[in-house]
Amino acid sequence: MSDHILVESKFDPATAIYDSVLPAGEGWIHEVKKGQTFRIVDLGGNQAADTLFYNARDFSERYSALDTINAQGGIYLTTGSRLLSNLGNELVVITADTCGRHDTLGGACAAESNQVRYSIDKRYMHSCRDSFTAALATWGVSKRDMTSNVNFFMNVPVTPEGKLTFEDGISEAGKYVEMTAIIDVAVVISNCPQLNNPCNAYNPTPVRLLVWGADVS
């Protein structure tokens, strides 16, 4: 799977049934129904959109990073990638991508991982896990159900020697990724507030979220 084949969308924002802007540092939860298409737009450039996916009818079925990357034989996501659940079922398929590479291994920042990675006194800083738990709580779902996430627009290369690094992003203002739901999915986003590494170019910015109905072509 090449990470340089960019595919543009056929959808017009004017026909979207949902269109909103999510500021950095905020969480979001929304049901995308089977057949609907969902787009995340990186408005400011190099902004990580940490995203969880669940079967909207049964939260015990959820996106599995390991099942997804093993099935496609590669660690990056782009057009054609099928995001699989822990039960091996398809949740969404990526249908357009003008960025070209999205991360599956970097996870979400947390108060505690910030302590480990940067300094014990960083615990006060806002993090994706706190946005995730707040968004999930509105649907009565707790941390027990929080699993590994996709980092759209984030660049986390692995080397043949087995090193993992956080590199400067390859996204830019206006780049987007789009996916079609195979079943009814609950999508949970933390628009990443991280200030300690280049995942947001040290300047967290808003993302735009759009949904098109299954009947729009």
Binding site: A65, I75, A110, V116
Partner: protein
């Protein structure tokens, strides 16, 4: 290696699984008896199951996509659950998946209990869920795991490749518990292992008491992140 005291030891046969609460101050040495073993394992804080092994936090804290001597196994709470104090293998795989009943059947066919008794085909998923059920947990609690003794390499395009024969007969890895850690381990083959025959390998398990990590401990000092991870684990017990 620090002098230690044997607590107990046993052989875990191929296709079987085991769960044990590895107490702080004890260690588990897993030895590949025949070579080519795969040991999927996952970890929980025994006192609070909702704190568990976190794959991304483990990898990004140590800037690594493989695990070996000197590395730590992190929970989602910024604490070190276990540290790898000895390793003769050099590469354990944290990004490969694990087998399920469906993938085992598709790859190897079916060997039912009715026909094969305890030589039936099992899968890591079924074995993990069976072990978790003993502790009141279910698939909601099953997240990432580590495939000990296996190697999956990633090339510059991001493609994943399973490297066969990563571990030789007699190779071993030692995990020291820094917290009271529920460790769940299985012995089913790696799902990316191209071998067409279902041949899960037996491993030897040696549980022993070890000295607590001192100020000059290898795992504590292998990177500044791990020094802070040990601080978080040690504060938990204050």
């Amino acid at each position: 290696m620090a002098p230690d005291t044997l607590l107990f030891e046993e052989e875990l046969r191929g296709g079987a699984s085991f769960a044990h609460v590895l107490k702080r101050g004890t260690a588990l040495t897993i030895t590949d008896l025949a070579g080519g073993a795969n040991v999927p394992a996952t970890f929980f804080n025994f006192e609070l199951f909702v704190e568990r092994y976190n794959m991304p936090d483990t990898l990004k804290a140590q800037h690594t996509a493989h695990l070996t001597r000197g590395h730590c196994i992190y929970s989602d709470m910024g604490r070190v659950l276990c540290s790898i104090i000895e390793d003769s293998v050099g590469w354990h795989d944290p990004i490969g998946a694990h087998s399920t009943a469906e993938t085992v059947q598709a790859k190897y066919g079916t060997h039912s209990y009715q026909d094969f008794r305890n030589d039936w085909y099992t899968s890591t998923r079924e074995n993990f869920l069976r072990e978790l059920a003993r502790f009141g947990m279910d698939r909601r609690d099953l997240q990432a795991h580590i495939n000990f003794f296996s190697k999956v390499q990633v090339n510059s395009e991001g493609k994943m490749q399973f490297i066969p024969l990563n571990s030789k007969a007699g190779d071993s890895v030692t995990l020291r518990a820094e917290m009271n850690t529920l460790i769940v381990i299985d012995t089913n083959p790696h799902p990316l292992d191209p071998s067409a025959e279902y041949k899960p390998k037996s491993v030897h398990l040696r549980f022993h008491r070890v000295h607590p990590p001192g100020p000059d401990d290898l795992c504590r000092n292998s990177c500044p992140e791990n020094t802070r991870g040990f601080i978080n684990s040690e504060r938990y017990f204050l």
